[in-house]
Structure formats: C-alpha cells, structure tokens
Amino acid sequence: MQLIKISSLILLSIFFVFLGGIILDGNESESVISGKPFPVFQQKTLDGKDISNKYFSDKTVLVNIWASWCITCLVEHPFLESLAEDINIVGVNYKDDPKNASDWLTKHGNFFTVNIHDPQGNLAIDLGVTGAPESFLVVNGKIVSHIIGEMNQRKWEQHFAPNL
C-alpha cells in the first residue's frame, strides 16, 4: 500500500518534469514530405515551356515557393540571391498573375534557373505547402528538407546545408 502511494507521487513528479522538458525543448519536428520523391506533375513555366517532375531527377536544387503578393518573399529575396551562386534555385510562382510575377522579377532581380507557374496552387498542395514563402531541398528527385516561412542563414545552416 505504502509502495503504491509513493509511486503515485513519483509518477506525478515525472509528469511535471516531462512538461518542463517540453517547455525547454526547442527542436522542431520534420515535415512529412521530407524523404519522399518530388510529386509527379506536368505544368508550364512562367515563360510558357513545358516542365515535369523529370526535371528534378538528376539535380540538386532548392525549390522556392514565392509570389509577387508575398511580402516575406521580398524579405528573403537577397539571401536567396546570395545562395544562387552555389545552388540552382527553382521557383514555384504560387497563385500569382504571370504579368505581376514577371514585373516583380524584373524589378527585384531574377536568379531563378526556372520558374514553374502554379496559378491554382496545385503543385504546391502536392508539396504540402501551406503558404508562401516555403523552401525545399531536392536532391536527385527526392525531397530532403522542407522549411516554412522565410529562408535565412540560420535555417539554411540548420536544415539544408547538412543535407547537401
């Protein structure tokens, strides 16, 4: 009986320690899409050429979801530009008007190897995208990493660089 009493108190303490651990823990969980092959698709690029998932089968690229209406995309733009020297960046122009998208690229600089036009956001949904901006690291047709929101030095070093 005494044993049950003491162990119930110990259990309660463990529960509180566990909650404390959760508060202190800072790791974010992995996206479900990581480790899966790049989804099958057949779409146009912004300049009207055909493109499909075969494009990714033999390359290492960073795929960036962006739009001309997206403010955070403008924030991460300079950083992506600096990355573009070392890695090919493929844009997915997300739920955007092609005219606005081209104007935006002309104005702010176009470092994208190619831009997939995704006006309905269909490819984006297949990628598990929740909004713009988001970035993926794709190695030989396989998605390796996925981050939501602005790409920056810290996220690059933490989530993308180790998988190159």
């Binding site: 303490s13 508060i23 823990d25 800072g26």
Partner: protein, 627 residues
C-alpha cells in the same frame, strides 16, 4: 508617479502575504498571535485591490507611459473598453486572476469568526498561494512596467474584433469560476493539516456552488460569443483552450454532487477532499496551459521559458504537497455501506464517469504533446475523438440521473420503480421511431446516445411532479430545475447536429437562387459608412412568399488597420436560426453567400440558462439555511 505608486503597493501587498503566511505558521503554536493574522491578510488584500484600482485608473486616464496600457489600449476607446483592455492580454489578465483570487479569499475569511487552528491553516494556505502568485506577477509579468522615456501618444492600434461586450465580460466571469475553487481547496487542505473534525465541506458548499455557477456562466457565455461573433455557426469546437476550461467544470460538477452525498450520508468524505484539491489544481493547470502557450505549439516558449517554468513549478509544488498530504494523512472516518440503488450510489457512479471524462479530456489535450515528444510527428486530437468518448458516458450518466429522481438517501431502490423506468425507455423508443418514420430524422449513434440520455432525464423528472407520495415530491427545486436544463441541453445538441445544414451559393442581384431546401434572393447590395469603418451590406431574402425572412449580412473594413471583418446576419426562432455570411464577389459578378440553417440552438442556450437558474435557486436555499 502613479504607476510607481501602484507598483509599490503591489510589492507591499506581496510582502504582507508573505508575512501573513510566516506569522500564521508561528501562530499555529502560539495562540495569542492568531488575532493579528486575519487583519494582516485583510490589509494585504486591500493593498492588492488598491493596486488594481490604480491600474484601472491609469488605463482610463490613458497613461501610455505604462507599457502594458500603451500596447493594449487606445485613447479613442470608450471607457468600458479601456477597462476591459486590462484583461485582454497576459499580464493584466493574470493580475485580474490574482485580484479575484484575493477577493474570494477575503470574503470567505471575513465570513468566518473563529480563530481555531483550522482557520489559521486556511489563512496560511490562502496567503501562501496569493504570495506565490503576486510574486509571479511582479517578477515575470508585471503589468505596471513603464515604457520610458518615449511613450506613444495614442496607445496601440486596437483590433476591432476585441471591442465586443461579450469578450469584455467573459474572462472575469470565467476567472471568478476558476479561482473560486480556491475556497474548497484551502478548506480541504486546512482540514487535513489541522486534523480538525468539523464538517468543512458544509461550510464551503455554497462557495463551491457559487464558483461552479460562475464557471458555468463563463463557459456558456464563451460558447454564445463563438456562435454569434465568430460566424462559423458552431458553439463548441473542442479546442484545447475550451477543453482546459471544461476540466475544472467537470471536476466542480463531481465535487458539488459528492458534497451532497457526504453531507447527507457521511459517505465519500475522503473522495470529497480529493476532488476539492483536484478542482483547484485543474484550474491552475488551465492557467498554466494557456499562459505557457504549450498547446499552441510545443515550442512556443523555447525562446522565453521563464513564465511557463515558474507556473509549472508552482503547480507542481502545490499539487505534490496537497496530494502527499492527502495520501499520507489518512482518514479515520467510519466506513458506511453504500446500498446500490440509493441516491448516493447513483451520484457516486456518475462521479466515476465524471472522473473518467476529466482524465480522458486531459489525455486528449496532452496526447499530441506526448506523441510529438516521443515519436516526432505532429498529430491532432479533435472533435471526432471527444464526441465519440463523451457520447457513451453521457448516455450512462443520463440513465443514472433519470433513475436517481426515484431513489432515496440510504434506501435501496424500490423494484416497483424499475418498471416505470422501463416504460420511460419504451416511450423514448416510440419517440425515436416517430422521429424516424414521420420526420425522417435518423440519429447517428453518437447523437442518439445524447438524445436518449436527455429525453430520459426530461421524462423521469417531469413524471416525478405527479408523484403521489407526498413525502417524496420534488425535494429540491434547485436541483430539479438544473437537471431539467441539462436534459434540454442533451436533446438540443443531437437535434442541432443532426438537422443543421449549410449551403454555399453564388447569387446575382434579383435573381432567385433555388437550392434543394431554400430559395435565396439577393435583393440589394450597397455600401455604407460606419463610425470607423466602411461596409458592404447585402439584403438577402430567404424563402420569399409565405415565410420570408430578410437578413442583412455585412462586411466591414476598419480604417485604422485595414482589417476586414464579416458581420453574420442571424434570424433566430425556436426551431431554426438562419445564419448568413457574405463572401466575396467572384469573377462572374456573383456574390458568394453562405447560408446555414442551425436548428434548436434555442434549446442549447435555454438548457444552459435553466441549469444556471437551478443553481441560483439552490444557492438561495443554502443561504437561507445558513443564516
């Protein structure tokens, strides 16, 4: 100067609470010291109130040198919202929480004229809790901090959605409920520490009921606010924050019922003590969960875990201390045999169900956290889980509640009554068949369970009015009314869920749109100007002809931050609420309208109000008995 003064008074109050608890411990041995702890405690509380009053004054006079006021109030707000802005965010609502805690404690203590060891221990416990929380306020989340030297002239940009009377009175209501449970907690604990033999639960019964009534009202108000303001047509979402508020309510329900048993039959003494401790700890836990942001995201507080950790250690300390005391102190009440079928047995069985419900909701809230920590991926536990587990519990509880009206304290169930209950069930079966064959209503299993429970309560309770046995006519009108309200709620929920439907249609001005169940005409759509917003108002007619209903849903764009809100148009009747939202204009010049037909919402609000009414009647009766 005034913010510093308020701050100083707050610190003084904290020190006095500390002093009171120390002196209280000293006074446990030295009886002559006991007379001064109560005045000391009173003064600490008055200082706390004064500090809060100064904060209200600062908010009303737009003192934007106070950081909290600068970021949560605005000079253009009406006074009412300037005051309510105090509890619109973390620091201020914690302050309100503590002030209410102090006020409840003060009222309780001032109502007790004894100076025995028991009341000394009550004072020690209350002042320790108040000390710990005022310290938390001052050191981790002080609402009186200044923003000097540059203070904004007009305060913050206030979200228009926050200017809602429902939202302004709902938190104080809810907090009154939460912190009111400190009374049974302190009494139960003091009873253990002082090894007193007096009937502590009788003296705190009405306090517990009052707290429970506030919590019921607070949850009901929150639910109504969600229905009328959020515009989704729902009134309960099984959202973690809602679940956390439900836990103390469920536990409070178990407690007030168990108290009835222990005061009538002296059964369940230890159980009542346990519940009294648990109910306050669950309230604290609710504050912790919401404050730490732990359910929004596992990692919400990784950047600044101080508040979360402080609150967690507070709760850990309080609950470990009280449960250890409970476990090791031991009870030497004489055990009484509980007869199956007696009133106390039905209440006890429902207490088991309520405990199961509490632990299950708790599991549902924490499971995603545990899952993510151990296994990695995120997971959601939502309405389908809660509905599935609640339905059977509600069914069994309803059958027990309905049966209990024919039971007596400490008497076995009279078998002749079983036949009556069987007839009631047959009657319900006939009702269900009627609904199915004549009205085409076929409930899902989950809906059916709630419906059966609700109608069983309503039928058995109504029949008891005609009880020929004079002695056994409705003994307690308060409890009778409350349970009727609960029964109405239980049939309102499945009827609402089964019958309600939603339609999303595109309409052009003056062209009737025929859906399967309604005809909708957009008569007119025009722009209008409000005091600080511009709006687009649609005039929509539903089912023109015999029972036409005109509604005017609206879309507002607020000037100061360009925020757009939708104003739902609702036409309520007993049977059905027509609930319309105005959407966007699509590229074919059609307006999107969402029309919901929400059935029997009236039974849900009515049920909750009748429950509350019953509790108030009951409270009055106890008060008379106590006077």
């Amino acid at each position: 100067m005034i913010p510093e003064l308020a701050n100083f008074i707050l610190i003084l109050s904290m020190s006095l609470f500390f002093g009171t608890s120390l002196l209280g411990i000293y006074a446990r041995k030295i009886e002559s010291a006991r007379i001064i702890i109560k005045p000391l405690f009173t003064n600490a509380n008055l200082l706390l109130l004064a500090s809060f009053a100064l904060l209200i004054y600062l908010a009303v006079t737009d003192n934007f040198s106070v950081k909290y006021i600068a970021s949560h109030s605005n000079s253009s707000l009406p006074v009412f919202y300037k005051i309510s802005s105090i509890w619109s965010a973390h620091e201020g609502s914690m302050f309100l929480w503590i002030v209410l805690l102090g006020s409840w404690s003060l009222l309780f203590v001032r109502n007790n004229y004894k100076t025995d060891l028991y009341i000394t221990d009550v004072l020690i416990i209350l002042s320790s809790i108040l000390f710990l929380f005022t310290a938390f306020l001052i050191f981790t989340s002080n609402p009186l901090d200044r923003v000097l030297p540059l203070s904004p002239i007009d305060g913050a940009d206030i979200n228009p959605i926050l200017q809602d009377p429902g939202l302004a009175i709902h938190p104080p209501m809810l907090y009154m409920g939460y912190v009111g449970f400190v009374i049974p907690f302190a009494a139960a604990l003091a009873n253990l520490t002082s090894s007193s033999t007096h009937a502590w639960e009788k003296s705190v019964k009405r306090w517990t009921l009052a707290a429970w009534a506030f919590l019921t009202a607070g949850i009901g108000l929150g639910s109504a606010w969600a229905y009328y303001e959020l515009g989704w047509g729902g009134y309960w979402f099984w959202d973690p924050v809602e679940n956390i508020a439900l836990l103390p309510w469920l536990c409070g329900t178990a407690l007030v019922h168990a108290m009835a048993v222990s005061s009538k039959t002296s059964n369940l003494k230890a159980w009542v003590t346990f519940l009294a401790m648990l109910v306050f700890i669950l309230s604290l836990f609710g504050a912790f969960i919401v404050r730490s942001g732990i359910i929004d995201s596992v990692h919400a507080f990784a950047s600044d875990p101080t508040r979360g950790l402080y609150l967690l250690s507070l709760i850990a300390g309080i609950s470990l201390f009280s449960f250890a005391l409970f476990i090791f102190k031991g009870f030497n009440y004489q055990k009484k045999v509980m007869l199956f079928g007696s009133k106390e047995s039905f209440i006890s069985l429902n207490n088991i169900l309520l405990m199961t419900a509490i632990f299950s909701v708790f599991l549902g809230v924490l499971y995603p956290l545990i899952y993510e920590t151990i296994l990695g991926p995120k997971i959601s536990v939502g309405p389908p889980f809660y509905n599935t587990i609640f339905a059977p519990m509600v069914l069994i509880a309803g059958l027990f509640i309905g049966s209990s009206i024919d039971s007596q304290w400490q008497r076995p169930f009279r078998s002749i009554k079983l036949l009556k209950l069987a007839y009631c069930l047959v009657l319900i079966a006939i009702i269900l068949a009627f609904l199915y064959f004549f009205l085409g209503i076929s409930f899902s299993a989950i809906e059916g369970m709630s419906f059966i429970a609700g109608s069983f309560i309503l039928i058995t309770y109504t029949l008891s009015i005609f009880n020929t046995d004079r002695k056994r006519r409705i003994a307690n009108i308060g409890s009778f009314v409350s349970h009727l309200g609960f029964g109405l709620l239980l049939i309102g929920i499945p009827l609402n869920s089964n019958l309600s439907y939603e339609e999303t249609v595109a309409v052009v001005i003056n062209e009737p749109k025929q859906t399967e169940r309604n005809t909708i005409i957009l008569n007119n759509i025009y722009e209008a100007e409000g005091p600080n917003f511009s709006s687009i108002i649609a005039e929509v007619e539903v089912n023109p002809g015999t029972n036409a209903v005109l509604l005017m849903p609206e879309k507002r764009r607020y000037a100061n931050r360009g925020q757009v809100t939708s104003e739902t148009a609702i036409k309520s009747s007993f049977l059905r609420d027509i609930y319309i939202n105005l959407g966007e204009l699509n590229d074919q010049d059609q307006w999107i309208l969402r029309l919901q037909s929400n059935y029997f919402i009236s039974l849900i609000w009515g049920g909750i109000m009748i429950m509350l009414l019953g509790i108030l009647v009951f409270l009055r009766k106890i008060k008379h008995a106590a006077d």
